[in-house]
């Protein structure tokens, strides 16, 4: 147990908490709002475009400052995705994700933060999402962990 609480674990907990605060304040944990944003051909609510805008601006401006360092503070080295290929797997996966996102208005981050509300909607979505991830892993096509994780 001693090694469980190494610095990297505490910093990840803090980053997750801040990420969750951002998702909640921004409105991403309200499925009806997300669907309103995706309803381009109906009663379109553009406000959530500012979430992606704010996040990309904040990250794009601060990321280069971090990458000037030789190494991160609480880990031995930076480990960032290197994949660049645009293939059927990328397009197929993104399409399936878009289908699910459009059906219920929840993407993975808000799907996890929403568990805290105890709403049945989130409590049904989360285990289904985990099952979908495990099913993909069972196809045997998953990349080794870490490589390209998240991007």
């Amino acid at each position: 147990m001693k090694t469980f609480f190494k610095p990297g674990v505490l910093t990840a907990l803090l980053c997750g908490g801040l990420f969750g605060l951002g998702l909640t304040l921004s409105g991403m944990t309200q499925p009806s709002k997300v669907i309103g944003f995706l309803d381009l051909f109906g009663n379109w609510d553009p406000s959530l475009a500012f979430v992606m805008g704010g996040a990309v601006i904040a990250h794009a401006l601060t990321r280069p400052l971090v990458l000037r360092r030789n190494r991160p503070i609480a880990a031995p080295a930076f480990k960032l995705p290197a994949a660049t290929q645009i293939d059927a797997r990328l397009l197929g996966g993104a399409s399936l994700f878009g289908l699910g996102w459009g059906l219920v208005g929840i993407c993975p981050g808000p799907g996890i933060v929403g568990i805290g509300s105890g709403a049945t909607y989130f409590l049904l979505f989360f285990p289904s999402m985990l099952l979908g991830m495990l099913l993909y892993r069972m196809t045997g096509k998953a990349k080794p962990s870490g490589e390209g994780a998240g991007a």
Partner: protein, 141 residues
């Protein structure tokens, strides 16, 4: 204007949280990848990944009593639709190696063409899905 500055400020916090994860842990804040990694308990990375997921859940637990309006679902979906959506979100984000955070926020911030294509694809399919379910099929809500 609250309507716009809260999403902008919330988005800013998301971007900063992603930068902090890179500064401290040297990793990209892609939620689907972190979630899948956290489930592989034998993996050394699963500890920080589990901690990050715990941070997300704790944010929800802590904020729900303070601002319950931020968690209003506001739409009705059959149980099977919610479960099916969860399945394809889980499967699709791993097949495509990322979701709104990994490809959207982090990928676009580093000008990755691959992430731009992924983001445009899932946005287009999600918009099409809402158009079909809400309008062509006479409204799912």
């Amino acid at each position: 204007m609250t309507e716009y500055w809260l999403p902008l400020a919330g988005g800013g916090l998301i971007g900063l949280a992603a930068t902090m994860l890179m500064l401290f842990n040297g990793r990209l804040a892609g939620i689907s990848g972190i979630t899948e990694g956290a489930m592989q308990l034998s993996n050394d990375d699963s500890r920080w990944q589990l901690a990050f997921i715990a941070g997300l859940v704790l944010a929800g637990l802590g904020l729900f009593p303070v601002m319950p309006e931020a968690f209003v679902v506001g739409v009705n979906r059959d149980i099977w639709v919610i479960c099916l959506a969860g399945l394809v979100v889980g499967f699709g984000t791993r097949m495509g190696s990322g979701c709104t955070s990994g490809h959207g926020v982090c990928g676009l911030s580093r000008f990755s063409k691959r992430s731009l294509v992924a983001t445009l694809t899932f946005m287009a399919v999600a918009i099409l899905t809402v158009a079909v379910t809400h309008h062509a099929l006479g409204g799912a809500q």
